[in-house]
Amino acid sequence: MSSIRPGRLGRHTAEQLLDGAVGDRVPGDRHAGGETLAGLLAAASSPPRSAELTGEDAAVTAFRAEHLVPASQSRRGQMIKSPLAKILTMKVGALALTVGAGGAALAASTGAFTPSAHVHVQAAGAASGGVSVSQSKTGTHGGMHVSMPAGHTSSSGRPGNTALRGPLSAVGVGKVCRILADTAFAAIHHVNTSAVGVLDATGLQSALDSSVLGQVINNPEFGALVGTVENKANAANYCGLIMHVTRLALPADLSSIPGPVLTAIPASVVSQVPASAMSSVPDATLGKLPIAFVTRLASKVLAGLPASVLAQLPTSVLTGLLSQLPAATLAQMPVHLLTGLLAKMPASSVTGILGKLPSGLLSQVVHGLPTSLLHGLPSSLLSQLGISL
C-alpha cells in the first residue's frame, strides 16, 4: 500500500538527509522514503520551542556564578576537576560526620577525593585576582595553602577556620557559593549532591535559608569563603547577594559583611541584585552599607530605598535617579538636597518631579531653585505658587 521501500535508500541520500541538505525533494529517490524521512528529521530538528527553554534563567544563574570576573582571570585552573567540585559527588551525611577530623580525614574516609587534593588560594589573588583551585601532590604551590594539614584535628571538633582563611576572588566565591547551595540543598532533600543539578532561584533561596547551611558550612572546604566574609552567618547573605536570590537569609546582618568585601563585588553583579532582596533589609542596616556598594545597585532597587539612605548618595547618582523615585520617597527627602539636585537638571525633567511633591514641600523647593531654571517651568505652576518672574 505504500510506495516507500526502505531498502532503496542510498548512502549518499542518507548523508544528504542528515546534513539537512535535502531541499524540496531527494533527486532520484522519490520512492525511497527520502521525503518522509526528511520530514521526520526536520521535525526532530525543528526550531526551539518555548517549553524547551524553561531552564534558561537557571543556566544563566549558574553561568554568572562562574564568571564573575573577566575570563582572563578566571580561566586559570577551570578545567581541572577541583576538590570542591568533587564534593558534589560526596554524600552529605558522610561529609558532615567527618568534618571534625579535618580535610585529610574527610578525604580518606569518603574516598571521594584524594588526600593530596588541596585548595590553593594564591596570595597574589587577593580580592580581585584569580583563585587557583587545583590538585597538587606536593603542596608547594606558590600561593597560600588553605587546605587542612594532614592529620590535623582541631580541639573544638570543628575545623580550625583561622587556618583556612584566605581571600577569595569574586569568581572563587561565586563557585564556592554555588557548591555551598548545592550541598545544602542536597542535605535538605536527602539526596546526593550530584543529583541536585542546576538550582533555580527557588532552590537557591531554600538552600541559603535552611538551617542545614549552618552545618554544611563547617566543612573545611568552605573555610576560604567564611574567611573572606569573616563569619558563617555572613556567608549566607553574601552568597545570596552574588547569586541574586530575592530574599537574603539574614538581611538585618547584611552590614556585618566587611565593607571592602561588599565594595569588591563587581558592578555587573551588584546591578543584578533584585529589589526584593534589598527591600527586606532594615533601614538601619542599609544606612551602614558602603556607599560604593549601594550606588551600584540597579536604579529600580535604589528607587525603593528610604530617603535617609538616598540622601547619602552622591548627587551624580541621585540626579539620574530622581525621576524614578516614588512621590513618598521624594516627600521624605531633605529640602536642600532636593533643591540642589533639581538645580542640576533640565527644566523639563524638573517639572515632572515637582508635580509629585506635596504642596508644602513644593513651595519650599521651588523657592530655592535658581531663577534661570524657573524660567523653564510652566507659568501655570509658577502662578499657582505665587511666583512672578
Partner: protein, 213 residues
C-alpha cells in the same frame, strides 16, 4: 548502560503518510530545520562573561541537547540537561575550538552526564510505548504550524528515533539534531567517522521502515 528497552518495539501496520499525495511533492519538504548557527562569536563573548552571549548559546543548543538526551535518558532528559548546563558553565572558560567543536563538546558533556545518570539510578530508560501510527499521526500541539502540516511533531519524531538501537539513534541525532558532521559525531561517540556514517545510514533505513513498511 542505558540500553533502551526493546520489548515494546513491535512496529505494527504503519499508516501511509497522510501528506503523501502523488504529484505534490515539491511543497511537502517538512517543517524548517533549525539552522546550524555559527556560535564561535557567542562562545568567545560568553567566555568573557557576557550573559547575553551565554543565552544565545543556550537557546541554540538546549533544544538540541534536550532532544538528544531524550533518546538517552527518556523522561529524565530535562534534569540531565540542567546538569549538563551546570558543567558547560563551569568548563566554558577552558573550552578551545570553533563552533562545531563547541557543539561537539556540549554533546560530549551531555552524553557523559547521561551515562552517569543511568549508572547512578541503575535503571533502564523507558521508551515511550506508543505505536508508530500514533506517533506519525501526532501533529504536535506545541509545535510550529509548519510542523503540524507535516503531520509529525518534534516529540513524536524524537520518540521514533529513540526506538532505534542506541548506536543508530545516537548517530542520527548527533548528525541531524546536534548538527555535527560524521567526524565530530565520531569524537563524541569515540568512533571513527565511517562507523558513524554506517550507524546513521542503518538508522535512517530502519526509520524509513517504521514509516512505510
Amino acid at each position: 548502560m542505558g540500553q533502551m528497552d526493546r520489548a515494546d518495539l513491535t512496529v505494527v501496520s504503519v499508516v501511509e503518510p497522510a501528506q503523501d499525495p502523488p504529484g505534490d511533492r515539491a511543497s511537502i519538504a517538512g517543517p524548517p530545520r533549525a539552522p546550524v548557527a555559527d556560535l564561535a562569536d557567542a562562545v568567545r563573548k560568553a567566555q568573557d562573561g557576557d550573559d547575553e552571549a551565554f543565552r544565545l548559546l543556550y537557546r541554540d543548543l538546549q533544544p538540541r541537547l534536550l532532544r538528544y538526551l531524550r533518546a538517552l535518558v527518556g523522561d529524565d532528559a530535562d534534569d540531565v540537561a540542567s546538569e549538563t548546563w551546570l558543567h558547560i558553565a563551569r568548563g566554558l572558560s577552558g573550552f578551545q575550538g570553533d563552533s562545531d567543536g563547541f557543539r561537539g563538546w556540549t554533546a560530549t558533556i551531555a552524553r557523559n552526564r547521561a551515562t552517569d545518570h543511568v549508572r547512578h539510578h541503575q535503571r533502564r530508560v523507558a521508551t515511550v510505548a506508543v505505536p508508530v501510527e500514533e506517533l506519525t499521526g501526532l501533529a504536535g500541539s506545541d509545535d510550529t504550524a509548519d510542523s503540524a502540516i507535516e503531520g509529525i511533531s518534534t516529540d513524536a519524531a524524537i520518540a521514533l528515533i529513540a526506538r532505534l538501537p542506541r548506536d543508530q539513534a545516537e548517530a542520527v541525532l548527533l548528525r541531524a539534531v546536534m548538527g555535527l558532521d560524521a567526524e565530530s559525531a565520531g569524537k563524541v561517540l569515540g568512533k571513527r567517522a565511517g562507523a558513524v556514517r554506517t550507524a546513521a545510514y542503518r538508522g535512517l533505513r530502519k526509520l524509513a521502515g517504521f514509516l512505510g513498511e
